[in-house]
Assembly symmetry: C2
Homo-oligomer: 361 residues x 2
DNA sequence: CTGAAAGCGCTTACAG
DNA sequence: CTGAAAGCGCTTACAG
């Protein structure tokens, strides 16, 4: 077994040689990883047989031979080179996932759920962060495609993602967390209209007469907004004030300051994400207003963080695990009978104390 | 250009044929991705020249030729196959990152920082979640190694990670967020002893006479614990109560209930992570105790979430970006002059209101 | 300045 | 049941 250093791979020095110093005598060379050929040699078989044993097929192998090979694999610590496998088979067994901001709890929880769902199908996830930027989203998608992922799950920030120019035509792609229909793409998302309707209705049932809306920036008349509005209309309530802001804690904070700065603010508010609601609660805290005594809140997402606000947030929970499994199965083509272009999964209102109930989760 | 379907790659049907249905006539075949050979043909050059243009070397190319190749690349939408590149060059331009729980804000913020630091060096990050489990940590490491990452950054939950049996001997590995010295590995972490000392001293300066500790489960006598204790000793204060618990919001909640259930609880508490502190605050809320009027809190980490608790947490902030850059440069061997086995980066006390100050961030 | 050729590690149809 | 051989897409030393 030759572990010699190959000139084309030897660690090249990036620093210029310093004439005042003695040139280094030893160049650190990484020992080559164990390959299938090493295993074959050790076990005294051909490389084909090693593959047959590793994959338990497609040709049968005599038990004694297989045992020798397995022993060799164990002793040498052999792991098949995934790059070579991907090149040969055309499948990397990796799924790409693009999220806008991994450091937003909702997205990181979704990323974990997708990772678990993919692992259950034997896939690793190559995670890419678009930083909420459309150009970066395209660039990341390009990179995932070059890395030979077998499919991509995109949680796009674009209302009408135009991604066709970026990917290979044959690369399966699914839009996750997308409430609306996008031509040419399968999309999976929560039933946001119904969720917002349920959440706002709950505030109506508490008897609040004025219910505002803190809404994240979205391209179109958003479904959460429609749900909020429909609940008000059906109750015969006037439209409450609307503040539009970023989908972040800070965005919610700024919206809260604006909405409740003077005493004309509404008695209750529906907020389009938990992160924003947390910002609203901080604003109310600074303004000396109590939740829910002065202002009641219902929000949207059901992030873990919403369990630990004081008081606990009443929130419309997105079934993240369900969505993740659906996205993975969809992108892998495992639900071939599913003809739907768009999957809507139901959201569930989870009661806390911010709405005026006093439920403890 | 032949886009024919190759039998060994055609999408095989996983469902058994249903005799009651007509067999499908068309099998969906993924159009083959564009390769370097397609570009060469289109531009009328050899495949070598395509590479020379893509990499701007190592051989010179006539400007007119290069222009033709670039045009071909653009028209065909060519992207080099990363698996083939990795196989050929021995470098995947990917770094592996193992975190215990990606859905814990501290880890997701660290993951984002590492991703950015790696991107600045031209590397993608293959992110792996160990779910806080040692066996999974080893399994994920094995997988990363098989996927030919050029290095691994591990935020291990093991006190004494024994990882040598899992990775290729030549795979560079760095332990991140590790405060203590680990034989044979480079480790990078915050100066936790000093950070805890500063945080606890701050509580001492506020004049609190009894200062408890909520400490996450760690293998040994932890540096945060040592810092807390040293601050008490040097102030001549008695050791406050210690509750040990998980590094989670729930862990903090349970610890808070235990520490403050009766009125013998301390007047102030140093908490080993922001997530735990958030749990403690919830426990105090339920017990009807106010922060900081009844109990003052200083915690550790400096997660974004700590900015939005009510009141805002005073916390010892880990310089996540600095740590991420150091880890990436270390694992890539970019700081060859650095002889240190262990890098300690300084933490900074960030004042909020939970300690009794009234600073607004 | 350009191209033909070798080889990275793997899988699998084919031949024995 | 086993092995020799082709080829996935790429990079680069070598030859022209």
């Amino acid at each position: 077994m030759s572990f010699g250093c190959r000139s084309s791979r030897a660690g090249t020095r990036t620093t210029l040689p310093d004439p005042t110093k003695v040139a280094p005598v030893t160049v650190p060379t990484n020992p080559r990883a164990v390959t299938r050929a090493d295993v074959a040699r050790y076990a005294g078989v051909s490389t084909s047989v090693v593959s047959y044993v590793v994959h338990d097929g497609p040709r049968p192998v005599a038990p004694a031979t297989a045992a020798r090979v397995r022993e060799a694999i164990r002793v040498l610590g052999y792991r098949p080179n995934a790059s070579a496998q991907a090149l040969r088979t055309g499948s990397s067994k990796m799924l790409g996932l693009i999220v806008p901001e991994l450091d937003n709890p909702f997205w990181s929880e979704l990323a974990v759920a997708v990772t678990h769902a993919a692992a259950a199908r034997g896939y690793d996830v190559l995670l890419a962060n678009s930083d909420g930027d459309a150009a970066q989203e395209r660039e990341r998608l390009r990179s995932l495609s070059a890395r030979q992922v077998d499919g991509v799950i995109v949680t796009s920030i674009m209302t009408h993602p135009d991604l066709s120019t970026v990917t290979d035509p044959g690369l399966p792609m699914v839009l996750l967390n997308t409430f609306f229909e996008v031509p040419e793409y399968a999309s999976i998302g929560v039933d946001a209209l119904r969720g917002a309707l349920d959440g706002t209705r709950h505030l109506v049932e508490h008897g609040y007469g004025s219910i505002g809306l803190v809404m994240g920036h979205t391209g179109s008349m958003e479904l959460r907004e429609q749900g909020w509005m429909r609940a008000l209309r059906e109750a015969g309530l006037p439209d409450g004030p609307i503040v539009r802001t970023a989908f972040t804690r800070r965005g919610g904070y700024e919206a809260g300051l604006r909405m409740f700065a003077d005493d004309t603010g509404p008695r209750a508010v529906f907020v389009s994400s938990d992160m924003q609601a947390i910002g609203v609660m901080r604003a109310l805290w600074e303004l000396g207003l109590r939740v829910p005594e002065d202002v009641a809140i219902v929000s949207f997402d059901g992030a873990a963080e919403a369990d630990y606000t004081n008081p606990q947030l009443t929130t419309v929970r997105q079934p993240i695990e369900t969505m993740a499994v659906a996205a993975v199965d969809r992108v892998l083509g495992l639900d071939a009978d599913n003809q739907w272009h768009r999957d809507l999964v139901p959201a569930e209102l989870v009661l806390g104390a911010s709405c005026g109930c006093d439920v403890r989760r």
